[in-house]
Every structure is written in structure tokens, then in C-alpha cells.
């Protein structure tokens, strides 16, 4: 008994002693855990707090509204309109097949649409909204709103889409916006470009001033759970709307100018002769830029691309045409300035002129008889200018052309601007590697041959002639403080002489464009016609009798020019009109120009 007692005491001693050891071990280990908490929560707490935030917080860029483009009176030419989209949150919809089936008659969904929607649903988490249809009409929106109970999971999302209320009237020069392409992404790392559905300028002003118009992105910070579901908005920093762009054009004049062309193809540029502000700038026919915003269909694109009237080309700056008889103004000024002619100098026009073994014809085969420079402009006599050009030489002509703004590229914010050609000896040697021929000077005298100008350049030239000799530059952007144009070194009396000539063209007895007189009381215009051959008339054809222009296919007909200014007494507007293959400057281009000037005067643009 005693022995067993001592033995059990022995066991008890082990138990007590060892339980103390285990107890100590327990305390130690639990304090290790507290130490671990200290390490994670205090020592590394900040690191884990950051990780927790990056876990839960997600950011999305918000596209800001694009700046609008306005005309000189603040009328919006490019705006952001509401765009309604039908979206589906598939997890809220029990039967997707039935849902889409019921929706089909309302939204006119095609089987392709349905296939795409189903594919989108399969590829996204069930709480991600899937786009069903874009650009809903008001009718569609209201139908969906009324029936919202029948379509669980359907939401109507409101966004902004760029639109051009004046459609083809402003396609040139505004251009259009479109989706961001791979190439755009490579050129720029602006974060906005990554925003799904973001649109950037693809042509025209939309492209040139894209960064200003774009604005500053907003940031939406929201909380997501582990599956990416948005739980709540944390912070919404609104973006900043892009800068508005105020243009110098007057949309009323722009429309009138466009419509004045009727079925003709061509371009017109109207300038304020004192400031160089472009008041109207049309290229006809044009296109509807709204078609491009959401991506143009191949069919529409091909129609535009293969139209022989080239609606996609901005003919006002990209179209290079021989100036024809309008160039006689330049030649006259050059000759008067150089002193090779005066108003007293007379030439005799017999209808033709021999130079070497080459015969040059006047447009009037019977000839004009004796005439001075004013009469030569009025009658657009070719022989007078052949002779004047010969006396003057090509260099002087080229020099005056540049002074008056031909052959120049202007900083108007548009791409694809062409410089045209103002030939001289050096130019020919450099580009064609041939010496200059005297006969080339002769035809340059009537604006044929190598000479090429754009409607914008011609309008600029006219503005400089009629504003008293100030070197205005065309501009599209309204400026608070316009810079005063420099005076060109041309004698005022010489300017007056050619101006008188242009007055006679319209108002003189037997002027070439008398039919185009303004139908406004007390206001007269001056101008100059131009008709330029697109094809060469061969000797054989000349012998047989020249084919009438109307009998030729459209693309071989002559181009028709008319440039005009008004009012004659105190010029304010200058316009250059080209009617491509319009056959006759006086018959087709002049009426267009006079319609435009009449409208400008009626509008009294300030």
C-alpha cells in the first residue's frame, strides 16, 4: 500500500512537473501568435492596407464631353447628342432566349445581332452589362420603358455621341470622329484612348484640333468584390469638357454656297477681304459625316469612294486646277507694275497669234480688234495677254503670283492642302529637267499650261487685289485680336485698273459675265471668269471644228471658274468658285458666285 502510494506519488510528480513545462510552452506559443499579429498588423500593416485597397478599388476612366465646333455666330456645327443604348444584365434575366425573342420585333434585331449578344453573354461574367443595341430611337426607348416589366435585366444606358446637324454642309472642313485604331494607340499613350467606345478626330478640324476638343478624362473609383462585381461608387471625379472651337464660317452662307451648286461638282471659298476670315468653305458634293461616327458600312464607303465627283476630296484645298482666264488679273498687275504696259498700251487681236511655227488662238475666233488692259480683262482677250506675257517674261508673272498668295500653303488647320504650281524657269528645270520654252510663257499668260491653283488660293489672291493690297491670309479660327495684314508692294492705281477691269466684266457692255450681275439694288460686284481645258484640242479637231463641250462625256468637259467680289465700291467679300467640268465660267460658275455674294450681302456678316 505504502509502496504503491510512493509509486503513485512518483507518477504525480512527473505529471505536475511536466504539466508546468507544457503550460509554459503553451504560453510561449500563444505569445508567438501575438508577436505574429504584431508583425503582420503593425510592422507590415501599411503594406497590407495598400494591398487590401488595390484588391477592392478599381478605377475607370470617364470620357469627357467633346468640345463643340461652332460657326461665327455660335451655332453648333458639331455637337454631342444623347445616345441611348439597350443593355442586358444577364443574371437578372431568367430566360435569355425568350428575352431576345420578345425584344426582336421592338428593336429589329437580326440573327447576327442575337448571335453576337449570346456570345457576349457567354464570354462575360453574368453581372456585366452586355450591349444589345446602340443609337436607339425615341420610339424604341419609350416602347422599352413602357414594357420594362416584361424585360427583367434590361437597362437603358445614356451616353453621348458626336453628331453633325448640318451633315454634308460641314463635312468639309469639319471632318468627323471615329473609333480609336491600333495605329492611333501606337502614336499616343493618352489614357483616354483606352476608354471603350472613345472616339477621336479622324479628319478635318476634328483631327487637327483633336487634343483641344478632347478634354480631360474623369475618374470613377469604385469598390469591387473578389469576382469583379461593382459594389459601390467611392469617388467620381468629373472630367473636363473639351475646348469649344469657334470657326469663322457662317453656316447660313455655308449652306447657301453649297446649295448654289445644285447638281454641279466643285468648290467655293468666301473670304472677308479685310481679315482673311473664311466665311464659307464648301466642296460639292460632300458626304454625311454622321455615317462615319459609328463606323461606316462597306456599301456606303464604296459609294463615296467610287463616285466620279469625289465627295471625299476637299476640292477647295486639294483640288488643283488651271486658273484659266482668272490668272489674267495676276498677269495684268505684273505687267502694270513692271511698266511693260499702261492703260494706254493697246494690242490688236485678230483671233490668232503666230510665235515661231506655232499658232496661238483667241477664244473669239473673229478677234477683238484693238483693246487696252481694262478692255482685255472685260473681254478676256487671249491675244492681249499672250503678248503681255511675252513682254513680261515668266519670272515676273511668278513673282506677282506669289505676292498675291498663289502657290502658297496656308495655316488653316486642314490636311491635304495642295500648293498648286506657279511655274518659272528654275521650277521647270528642277521638276521636269527641261529648259523653259517661250510658248510656255505665252499660255501661262492666260492661266493654262503648268499653272495650277486651288480655290482657296484664288479667293485669297482676289481678296488681296480688292482690299487695297493687303496680304491677308485665310483663316478659319476666330481670333480676338487679329494681326493686321502687311501691305503688298503694289501701286494702288494699278490695283484700281484691274479692279476696273473686273467691274467691266460684270457691268460693262459686252462683259463676259454680265448675266451674273447681282439682283440687289445699288450693290455691284466685280469678277473674272475662267474656263480651262481639261483635254488638249488637237489641230485636226480644230480644223474639223471643235466639238461642243456639252457633247463630251462629263469628265472631259472644261472646268468653269468664276471669282468675284462685292460690293464693288467698298469690297468686303471675295469668292472663288470652281465648277468641275462646268463647261463655262460665265454660264455656270458666275451664277453660283453671284448667288453666294447676294446671300453674303443680305446676311451682312460681321
Amino acid at each position: 500500500m505504502k509502496k504503491s502510494n510512493s509509486k503513485s506519488n512518483h507518477k504525480l510528480r512527473y505529471l505536475l512537473k511536466r504539466s508546468l513545462i507544457i503550460f509554459s510552452l503553451n504560453i510561449l506559443l500563444l505569445f508567438v501568435l501575438i508577436g505574429r499579429l504584431y508583425y503582420l498588423q503593425i510592422y507590415q500593416g501599411e503594406k497590407y492596407a495598400l494591398l487590401a485597397d488595390s484588391n477592392r478599388l478599381s478605377r475607370r476612366l470617364l470620357a469627357p464631353p467633346r468640345g463643340t465646333i461652332n460657326d461665327r455666330n455660335g451655332i453648333e456645327l458639331a455637337v454631342n447628342t444623347q445616345n441611348f443604348q439597350a443593355m442586358l444584365i444577364s443574371e437578372q434575366c431568367r430566360n435569355i432566349d425568350k428575352f431576345l425573342q420578345d425584344l426582336t420585333p421592338i428593336l429589329n434585331l437580326s440573327s447576327d445581332d442575337i448571335e453576337r449578344i449570346k456570345k457576349d453573354i457567354a464570354h462575360h461574367r453574368r453581372f456585366v452589362p452586355i450591349k444589345i443595341k446602340d443609337n436607339l430611337s425615341w420610339e424604341e426607348v419609350s416602347t422599352l420603358m413602357i414594357n420594362s416589366n416584361t424585360f427583367p435585366g434590361l437597362i437603358i444606358d445614356e451616353g453621348l455621341i458626336r453628331s453633325y446637324p448640318f451633315k454634308q454642309y460641314t463635312a468639309h472642313p469639319l471632318g468627323y470622329v471615329g473609333s480609336v485604331s491600333e495605329a492611333d494607340l501606337q502614336k499616343s499613350d493618352a489614357p483616354l484612348l483606352q476608354v471603350p467606345g472613345f472616339k477621336i478626330g479622324k479628319s478635318g478640324f476634328e483631327k487637327t484640333y483633336d487634343e483641344e476638343l478632347r478634354g480631360k478624362e474623369g475618374i470613377l473609383t469604385y469598390e469591387v468584390n473578389a469576382y469583379g462585381r461593382i459594389m459601390r461608387e467611392i469617388e467620381k471625379k468629373e472630367g473636363k469638357k473639351g475646348k469649344d472651337l469657334d470657326l469663322t464660317i457662317d453656316i447660313r452662307l455655308q449652306k447657301a454656297a453649297y446649295d448654289a451648286f445644285g447638281k454641279e461638282s466643285g468648290a467655293a471659298v468666301v473670304l472677308d477681304v479685310h481679315t482673311g476670315e473664311i466665311l464659307a468653305f464648301v466642296s460639292v458634293p460632300s458626304f454625311d459625316p454622321n455615317l462615319f461616327v459609328d463606323g461606316i458600312s462597306i456599301k456606303n464607303w464604296n459609294t463615296l469612294l467610287y463616285d466620279e465627283k469625289t465627295p471625299m476630296t476637299d476640292k477647295a484645298i486639294s483640288g488643283q486646277y488651271s486658273p484659266g482666264s482668272t490668272f489674267k488679273i495676276v498677269v495684268s498687275l505684273a505687267a502694270l507694275e513692271a511698266g511693260v504696259i499702261t492703260t494706254q498700251t493697246r494690242s490688236f487681236c485678230s483671233g490668232k497669234m503666230q510665235l515661231g511655227n506655232h499658232l496661238f488662238h483667241c477664244w473669239k475666233h473673229s478677234g477683238h480688234g484693238h483693246l487696252n488692259v481694262i478692255e482685255a480683262i472685260k473681254n478676256s482677250c487671249d491675244i492681249f495677254f499672250y503678248e503681255t506675257a511675252l513682254k513680261l517674261g515668266i519670272e515676273k508673272i511668278a513673282e506677282m503670283s506669289h505676292k498675291l498668295g498663289l502657290g502658297e500653303i496656308y495655316d488653316i488647320g486642314l490636311e491635304n492642302q495642295k500648293a498648286g504650281v506657279i511655274p518659272n524657269k528654275k521650277w521647270k528645270q528642277e521638276t521636269l529637267k527641261q529648259p523653259w520654252q517661250q510658248g510656255e510663257t505665252v499660255i501661262a499668260g492666260i492661266g493654262q499650261g503648268y499653272v495650277l491653283v486651288t480655290p482657296l488660293q484664288l479667293a485669297t489672291m482676289l481678296a488681296r487685289v480688292v482690299n487695297g493690297g493687303y496680304a491677308v491670309n485665310p483663316t478659319f479660327i476666330k481670333k480676338e485680336h487679329p494681326t493686321k495684314p502687311k501691305k503688298i508692294n503694289i501701286k494702288p492705281e494699278n490695283l484700281a485698273i484691274v479692279k476696273q477691269g473686273m467691274f467691266e466684266v460684270v457691268n460693262g457692255v459686252g462683259g463676259t459675265a454680265t448675266r451674273a450681275r447681282l439682283k440687289l439694288k445699288g450693290i455691284q460686284m466685280g469678277g473674272k471668269t475662267g474656263t480651262t481645258q481639261v483635254r488638249r484640242i488637237s489641230l485636226k479637231e480644230r480644223a474639223k471644228g471643235i466639238r461642243r463641250d456639252e457633247d463630251l462625256p462629263w469628265k472631259y468637259r472644261n472646268h468653269a471658274w468664276f471669282m468675284a467680289y462685292a460690293p464693288h465700291d467698298n469690297p468686303k467679300y471675295a469668292v472663288a468658285v470652281i465648277a468641275e467640268h462646268g463647261r463655262s465660267g460665265s454660264g455656270v460658275a458666275a451664277p453660283i458666285a453671284s448667288k453666294i455674294l447676294e446671300e453674303a450681302i443680305k446676311l451682312d456678316i460681321r
Binding site: L12, Y14, L15, R18, N26, L33, N225
Partner: protein, 377 residues
């Protein structure tokens, strides 16, 4: 005097009730309340689906604990062996026709709740070992021959739990048994030998491990190895815990748990949920409360009558078992141990653990209640 007088006298029910340790019970209730509050938060500020349910289970657990505490301690001595055999049979049945849950066969579906024999085995092994060591003389315990039987008593259920497969529970039973062997007086060097044998057998055992278990161990060693699956759990748990800081993000404001970044935020990983919202202060509070609870356990073992070796052994075994729950769970969710699927008792959602630990507390209290008398055999 009273001590001597009452030495072998059974106490009345009222006396036994008054003899309960109410501070000990208070701490248990406090911890369970923290659990319910956390479950309320995990549900996004709602009583359902977990908090109310858990409160009800805990209330039932309290009743079970009281019943177990008021039962005469002799009962546990008597049922030790039958209970051990019964539980072993249940364990074998589970292995044969177990309910499949979480990739492991662990439960018998009894309709209202799932019976998890491996949990019962934690108590059964303690009772059976305590009984064996209380009877065995010290010479036998310290001899090689004398520990063959207790080793078998432990090895058989552990083997059945391992093949379920439930690595966590089998390790817990094993560690608990090791502690009891040690307390009984088994020499140090035998443990060294045992550990050596296990280490030597490691490559062979590795072979028998399931792929997911191998993965868990490898991922524990290098969480970045598998950042989307098991590693993801550990990383997210550490983020939840670490981002809590000193004072926590505040009640109902834990982003990691509420936004579903945390795996199983209401069961095994509830401590991270809790620490995210209540910070290091809250976390340390739970650990310290548990430390007090465990200290009480040691106090009970020390306090009861020295003749009651069985009682002391049972208390220390169950207490060690409870300690292992706490330590393994918190070490696991803080990235100190591999994820082995051990819940945090009194706080994690789940009925089985409540049943196990509350019964254990009840048994411990039963010995404490009758602390001044000898055990009648």
C-alpha cells in the same frame, strides 16, 4: 477539516452547481459572443445565416457542458473504454459509407446534424489514455513494453482519420497523445526516437498523401507558387489581417471579408475576418482570453484531489486538445503553419466543434466540481 470530512462524500446537485467555476464559464460565453458578433458582420450585418444559428448551437453547447459538468466524474472513468470502442467503430463506418464533404469523408448524416466521429475521437482517446496511464504503474510506463498498448490505442484511430483524409484532426489527436505520453512520464529519448522514425518515414508517407495535401504543404512553404488557389487563400488572409492594423477597420467594415476576397470567412478563416475589423487589439484579446481559459485548465488539473490521477490526466489532455485548436488555427491563418482545416473553437461557424469543446469543458468542470474528493473506482 471540511476537506477531510467531505473527502469521499458525493455532493448534491446544488452543491455541484455552486462548485462550478463561473469565471471560466464567463470567458467561454465571452469568446462565443465574439464569434457571433463576427458572424453577424460576415453576413453583412445580418443575424442570418450564421450568427443566430451559431448562438442557438452555443446555447445547446452550454446545456451539454452543464450536464457534462454535473455528471459524477466516475461516469467518465467507466465509459472510457466503451466510448473509445464505440467511436472507433463509428470512425470505421464513416470511412466505409461516409458523407462526402469538402473532398473528404468525415461525417455521418444523422438528419439534423452531421456526426463527425473524428471529433469524438479527440475526447475518446484522451479518456482512454488517461484511464490506461492511471492504472499502469510507473515502471510499466517507462518501459518499452508498457507503451506498446497506448501507442496502438492512438495509432489505430489516427490511421483511420488520416485515410479519411483529415490531416489536421489526425495531427491534433497525435499531438494530444504525445503530450499525454509525456505527462505520464515517458522518457524524452523515446519521443526523439519517435520523431526520428516519423522523419525517416516521411518520404514514404509523402507517397501516401493526397495531391491536395501535398499541394497544401508545398504551398505553405511557398505561397507564391500557386497564387490563384491555395496560395491565394493564405495571401488574402494575410492581407485581411495585416490591413486591420492596430485598431482594425471597424465593426462591419472589413473589406476583405465583405468583398469575398477571403476564403471561408465564417469558418476556418474567421480569425482574419475578426482581426481585420478589430485589429491587433481585438486579435490579441482573443488570444489572451484563450490563454486565461487554458490557464484555468491547468489550474483545474492542479487543484483537483491528488488521488484523482485519471481526472488530472483527462483535464490536461482535453486542455491540450483545446490549446492545439487555438494554436493551429491562428498559426494557420497567419501563415505560420500550412492550411490544414482546423476551425477556431467557440468562434468559427460549425456545430461539431462546439459539441466537442463544450463537452470537453463539461468533463473538465465535472472533475473540478468534485475537486475535493477521491474518485471511486
Amino acid at each position: 477539516m471540511t476537506l477531510l470530512l467531505n473527502r469521499n462524500q458525493e455532493l448534491s446537485l446544488k452543491e455541484r452547481f455552486l462548485n462550478l467555476n463561473f469565471v471560466f464559464i464567463g470567458i467561454i460565453i465571452l469568446l462565443a459572443s465574439i464569434g457571433c458578433i463576427t458572424l453577424y458582420s460576415v453576413a453583412g450585418g445580418k443575424l442570418s445565416p450564421w450568427a443566430l444559428n451559431q448562438a442557438l448551437r452555443f446555447a445547446m453547447g452550454l446545456i451539454i457542458m452543464l450536464i457534462a459538468a454535473l455528471i459524477q466524474p466516475e461516469f467518465y472513468y467507466k465509459i472510457a473504454t466503451p466510448f473509445y470502442i464505440f467511436t472507433l467503430i463509428l470512425l470505421i463506418i464513416v470511412d466505409a459509407v461516409g458523407h462526402i464533404g469538402m473532398g473528404a469523408q468525415r461525417w455521418i448524416n444523422l438528419g439534423i446534424f452531421n456526426l463527425q466521429p473524428s471529433e469524438l475521437m479527440k475526447i475518446a482517446v484522451v479518456l482512454q489514455l488517461a484511464k490506461y496511464f492511471s492504472v499502469a504503474p510507473i515502471e510499466s510506463i517507462r518501459s518499452i513494453k508498457g507503451i506498446i498498448i497506448p501507442v496502438i490505442l492512438v495509432a489505430v484511430p489516427v490511421a483511420f482519420i488520416v485515410i479519411q483524409p483529415d490531416l489536421g484532426t489526425s495531427l491534433m489527436v497525435l499531438f494530444c497523445a504525445v503530450a499525454m505520453f509525456y505527462l505520464a512520464g515517458v522518457q524524452w529519448w523515446k519521443f526523439g526516437l519517435g520523431i526520428g522514425a516519423v522523419v525517416a518515414a516521411m518520404p514514404v508517407l509523402w507517397h501516401f498523401l493526397h495531391d491536395y495535401q501535398k499541394n497544401r504543404i508545398l504551398t505553405f512553404l511557398d505561397p507564391e507558387r500557386d497564387p490563384l488557389n491555395t496560395g491565394y487563400h493564405i495571401i488574402q488572409a494575410k492581407i485581411a489581417l495585416g490591413s486591420g492594423g492596430l485598431w482594425g477597420k471597424g465593426f462591419l467594415s472589413g473589406t476583405q471579408s465583405h468583398l469575398n476576397f477571403l476564403p471561408e470567412p465564417h469558418t476556418d478563416f474567421i480569425f482574419t475576418t475578426y482581426s481585420e475589423e478589430f485589429g491587433m487589439i481585438g486579435g490579441a484579446l482573443v488570444i489572451l482570453l484563450n490563454l486565461i481559459l487554458i490557464s484555468y485548465g491547468y489550474w483545474f488539473a492542479f487543484r483537483i484531489h491528488n488521488s484523482n490521477y485519471f481526472g488530472k490526466m483527462v483535464i490536461l489532455g482535453l486542455n491540450t486538445n483545446y490549446f492545439l485548436y487555438i494554436f493551429i488555427n491562428i498559426a494557420m491563418v497567419t501563415g505560420l503553419l500550412p492550411v490544414v482545416g482546423i476551425p477556431l473553437p467557440l468562434i468559427s461557424y460549425g456545430g461539431t466543434v462546439i459539441l466537442t469543446v463544450m463537452t470537453s469543458f463539461g468533463i473538465m468542470l465535472s472533475f473540478y466540481v468534485n475537486r475535493d474528493r477521491e474518485l471511486k473506482k
